[in-house]
Symmetry: C2
Subunit: 220 residues, 2 copies
DNA sequence: TAGATTGTTAATCGATTAACAATC
DNA sequence: TAGATTGTTAATCGATTAACAATC
């Protein structure tokens, strides 16, 4: 019991921390030394009360009457997210989407390092993909052992997503960012975040239609 | 007051409807005629109670003792989401990610039609991109008018995302799927869904670290 | 000291869960 | 009728909001 067992932050809080972190990095880059909850909340689209509550769950990080120190807060959140050092991430699927993600330069300065790209198609093995080279899925165990990766991005066709996920979990992956439009089943202790583009667009379609309907009714 | 003003579904419900819809399409393709709340809930990772409550907010769609008719339910949800006919979507940004999205074939059978790709770089105008051709951002007003698009996918660099979003909103776009790692500010009446890959990975990193810490403590 | 702003408490809001009557 | 399963109510849970004492 050397360190306090902070643990167990509310899920919505966890999901907002990366957003705060991003805004803080922007502020730090601009040379800003301190920021108030009101200002940081405005920049991240949350209420000041939610922001203060979220931050206070990580400790007493601000100073009353003054605000929060930008750089220190940045580091505290970064550590809370487990980003004390870069996280190794493997990317599975070297199709159009996978290649685009492999070449994405936005991961590096947010603590994420795409350390390998794998594909089931043996013809792709050895091909360049972003800054690295495609390896065979047959080597998944070795790649995960060598890189120590605990996170994976899944950019494979829907019909193989579950079986690839199973392989990855067996090989030690503990978090999956899934771009395939299927609901993955994983053992407890493994997290999945799903990014389904059609789902997102359908949610937008609903809100847009809802608003249009309201207008129509109001106009009657 | 001809139709009941169902409107105003809870946000979490709206976000789950596309997931139900996807599972129902799979069931329909397999020739399944009816499904129970327990089975559909299992397939979509929600609790049966949440599922029934969500569906009942759209009307009395099931039959007690029997379950829900797959095809009819599919159509009801589809209509509720505003997908009675396909939604025209424009895609802005023809870089690596934009090109991958333009070529994505998964939109079509989920009611979404990428009807145009635009880019600010005049050198890209006329280049092939997925099934279509890149048009200049100068033509954004015309393209939106001609296509009737109300939704847009934003796959542009972070530093221009806000100004591009402003242009799109001015031109009539009412829903934005934003891949740039910035918090967009939009007028009320416009919806934004953000897909920030680093944020997603950071959330996974937290859960993975949290679990590892618990193991470590338990192992002491 | 006076003004500003955090950290935290209490009140409100909203969503999920449990349970079961209705009914196929 | 007996078994199954929905639709809905009441109870629980959890998150947000409002407000303000603490304190810089």
């Amino acid at each position: 019991m050397s360190t306090p067992t902070a643990s167990a932050l509310p899920r919505p809080t966890v999901a907002r921390l990366p957003v705060y972190l991003r805004a803080l990095t922007t502020l730090a880059a601009a040379g800003t030394l301190r920021v108030s909850s009101t200002e940081l909340a405005r920049r991240t689209g949350v209420s000041p009360a939610v922001l203060r509550r979220d931050l206070s769950s990580l400790g007493q990080l601000g100073r009353r009457g003054v605000g929060y120190p930008v750089t220190a807060l940045e580091q505290t959140i970064s550590r809370a997210l487990g980003l004390a050092e870069d996280q190794a991430v493997i990317l599975v699927g070297a199709g159009h989407l996978g290649s685009a993600l492999a070449g994405y330069t936005g991961f590096a300065d947010r603590g994420m390092r795409v350390c390998a790209v794998l594909d089931a198609d043996p013809r792709l093995a050895g091909a360049r993909c972003g800054p690295t080279v495609v390896q065979s899925m047959d080597d998944v165990e070795r790649v995960i052992t060598e890189t120590g990766a605990r996170l994976a991005i899944l950019a494979v066709p829907a019909d193989v997503a579950q079986s690839v996920a199973d392989q990855l979990v067996t090989a030690g992956i503990r978090g999956l960012l899934n771009f395939a439009p299927v609901d993955l089943e994983v053992p407890s202790g493994v997290s999945v975040r799903a990014v389904d583009l059609s789902t997102e667009l359908q949610i937008l379609a609903f809100h847009q239609a809802e608003l249009r309907d309201e207008d129509r009714r109001a106009g009657d």
